[in-house]
């Protein structure tokens, strides 16, 4: 493992250009899985349609041909079986990377995640562990309606024992996935599907990991902290650009992983700027940013110059027609920032 991303260090896509290749987020996912399969025989990849087809989004395209159907295989159409089998394999010493076709469909596997994967280490006093990765496309922006667009990560953040990750760049997707696969805990790896092909960037050709629990500062600034993760990040950056046009210096933070999450980077930033806008696309009630807001006000209350403001999805099922209104785009983010700046 080399080139571990340092906490809070500004990450520029071009920083690794010397030995990098430009690829999309989903290509980075594929390359990371390929690398794990090649370097560790304990790694197996499975899920619905991941074999010959390569997954409905083609995240595993070509891997069965390259590694064989013993390593990369299709399963029955059963999330409970996929997640549960991953648990059993992990306990026996494999390193399963399982795909759930859409995050919206994990429901039947939820009990396996909450009662088995998340609890086995704890309930056995550390006698048994579950090192597995559940990869799943998540989030909206693809005209998928509510069963193909939800952002259910908060359910899993509320389950001690699971780690929860959501990258927004190809670099992070590959680095975080490698770290997840090599770790000793069960990881929910949410992939923002609208960025699968929209997000492009330089990815180093050498092996590297991005440590879970470290945020990335996408842009340094002094007037306000804009904090997000996953599919909203391009819009957060656009909002920061718009604010810059108005003379506002915004610091942009990408959490990258939610459990664990990088309190230090967030608190340092908010203590510096005095203002925070928290952006996510999941429904507002009980979403992860509620926890970020709570910690910010508890820890750096004296530094705050304005209330912490959330920009989130609405507490409706994810709509089909109003897709773009539902998602927190740059306009809503800028409006929230102005509210904080003029408080």
């Amino acid at each position: 493992m080399t080139a571990t991303q340092e906490p809070g260090v500004r990450q520029q896509p071009s920083s690794s250009a010397a030995t990098g290749v430009t690829m999309t987020l989903i290509q980075a996912v594929t390359e990371a899985i390929r690398g794990e399969l090649a370097s560790d025989e304990r790694v197996v990849v499975f899920g619905e349609d991941v074999g010959a087809r390569g997954g409905v989004f083609l995240a595993t395209a070509g891997l069965q041909a390259e590694f064989g159907s013993k390593r990369v295989f299709d399963t029955p159409l059963s999330e409970a079986a996929i997640v549960g089998a991953a648990v059993g394999m992990a306990v026996r010493g494999l390193r399963p990377i399982a795909e759930i076709q859409f995050a919206d469909y994990i429901g039947p596997g939820f009990d396996q995640l909450a009662s088995q994967a998340a609890k086995l280490r704890y309930r056995s006093g550390g006698q048994f562990t579950c090192p597995l990765v559940i990869r799943t496309p998540s989030g909206g922006g693809v005209k998928g309606g509510h069963h193909h667009s939800q952002s259910p990560e908060a359910y899993y953040c509320h389950t001690p024992g699971l780690k929860v990750v959501m990258p927004s760049t190809p670099y992070d997707a590959a680095g975080l996935l490698r770290a997840a696969s090599r770790g000793d805990d069960p990881v929910m790896f949410f992939e923002p599907k609208r960025l699968y092909r929209a997000a492009k960037g330089e990815v180093p050709t050498e092996d590297y990991v991005v440590e879970l629990g470290k945020a990335a500062i996408r842009q340094e600034g002094s007037d306000i902290s804009l904090i997000g993760y996953g599919g909203v990040m391009p819009d957060v950056l656009k909002a920061a650009e718009a604010l810059a046009g108005e003379g506002v210096s915004a610091e942009v933070i990408d959490l990258r992983s939610l459990v664990p999450w990088d309190r230090d980077t967030v608190l340092t930033s908010v203590a510096k700027t005095g203002r925070a806008v928290l952006v996510s696309e999941s429904p507002r009630i009980g979403n992860f940013m509620g926890e970020v807001a709570s910690v910010v006000q508890e820890e750096v209350f004296d530094s705050l110059l304005a209330p912490v403001i959330q920009v989130a999805g609405f507490d409706t099922p994810y709509p089909y027609v109003q897709d773009r209104i539902y998602l927190p785009g740059p306009t809503r983010i800028v409006r929230a920032a102005v509210k904080a700046l003029t408080y």
Binding site: A85, V87, D111, R121
Partner: protein, 372 residues
């Protein structure tokens, strides 16, 4: 001879303990005595732990009395410590039978410091890495898909291990059960699914659980063989488990085995009034009359291996003494320190848990009473 999908449960011993026509028994006298001892340990474990419960020294108990032949037959039919077990919460008989020490089981049931599971679960949820008995879950049937996955891993790794997955009749109504059996079936995974059909899921009778004529018949839907044994005949259960696991070691895929037995006691201390609310005294009496330990004793007597009253009393005294000693050690070890509450959530302590730990530690150091 063990056949798939039989009309009647397979047995070697008739209910009166006589050998069935054409049956032969391969166990030596010493092995028969071990089976009897193991079953007696399970029976007496129930008795002693219920006493502890009544004394307020533990908080929950789910007895296996009446099911000793099924659980000991399974334990003695596998390669203990080599094969892996995903059991359910009533499987202390299997745990005892494969050599999980009484002291470990008692420590788990008392939430003691010496519990290898570190007091994390309510009583009656054992787990032992050294014996490959995976810590049990309370959620019904959710051990079934992991068992399928473990068997897939065993096939992947090329071992000659098998996975044993046990559950009650109620579990076969859960989605996880069907998902797990199907997953193992399509992958030819060496998993022995065993239904300990004790005929009651708390207060729901098996005929309210399923319209299937039996549990083992469900195997047909998954394209695997279903076997049916008399779960009160320890010799039949042991032979069936041994035969089926040998088949799987030789490359066979999963099978479903139904052991027809009966839970003589209540589901747990929470429904100790079972005979007043959901089942008849006559039914319980009928099954008490089919006691699996008595059946084996009668067979042993017919082979000149009679267990005399004195010997039985001495054995019971020996077992009680072992349990008493285990209880004493567990109670003397105290309960796990509050600090371990934060351990084993993840491989290491993440920053948010460190923060919560530090806050609680500060409170504890400040002398505040607990956290309530």
């Amino acid at each position: 001879m063990l056949e798939a999908f039989p009309a009647e449960p397979y047995r070697l011993l008739a209910e009166d303990g006589t050998l069935m026509a054409g049956a032969s028994v391969t166990q030596s006298p010493a092995q028969l005595r071990e089976l009897w001892q193991d079953m007696t340990v399970v029976r007496e474990f129930d008795r002693k732990l219920i006493t502890l419960l009544r004394q307020g020294r533990t908080t929950f108990y789910a007895q296996a009395s009446g099911m000793e032949a099924t659980q000991i037959g399974i334990a003695r039919g596998i390669r203990a410590g080599h094969d892996w077990i995903w059991g359910y919460y009533r499987d202390h008989g299997i745990a005892l039978g494969i050599g999980v020490p009484i002291e470990e089981l008692v420590a788990q049931m008392l939430g003691a410091n010496t519990d290898p599971n570190r007091g994390r679960q309510m009583p009656h949820h054992p787990g032992s890495r050294s014996r490959r008995f995976v810590s049990s879950s309370s959620s019904i049937a959710n051990q079934v898909p992991p068992a399928a996955g473990m068997a897939m891993a065993q096939r992947y790794l090329g071992t000659d291990e098998v996975t044993i997955c046990t559950f009650g009749d109620g579990a076969t109504s859960e989605g996880d059960w069907h998902a797990g059996v199907n997953m193992a079936a399509v992958n030819d995974a060496p998993c022995l699914f065993i239904c300990e059909n004790n005929q009651w899921a708390i207060s729901t009778a098996v005929h309210h659980q399923t319209r299937s004529e039996s549990i083992h018949i469900k195997a047909r839907a998954y394209g695997i063989p279903g076997y049916y044994v008399d779960g009160n005949d320890v010799l039949a259960v042991q032979q069936a488990v041994s035969t089926l696991t040998d088949q799987m070691r030789a490359g066979g895929g999963p099978v479903l085995l139904e052991c027809l037995t009966y839970r003589v006691g209540s589901h747990s201390n929470a429904d100790a009034d079972a005979e007043k609310t959901y089942r008849s005294r006559d039914e319980v009496k009928s099954w008490t009359g089919r006691d699996p330990i008595v059946r084996l004793e009668r067979f042993m007597a017919s082979q000149g291996l009679e267990i005399g009253a004195e010997e039985r009393a001495a054995e019971v005294t020996r077992i009680h003494s072992l349990i008493d000693s285990a209880v004493q050690k567990a109670e003397e070890s105290g309960q796990p320190d509050w600090r371990i509450m934060f351990e084993d959530v993840y491989g290491d302590l993440p920053v948010h848990l460190r923060w919560q730990y530090d806050h609680l530690r500060a409170e504890q150091l400040a002398g505040q009473e607990g956290t309530r």
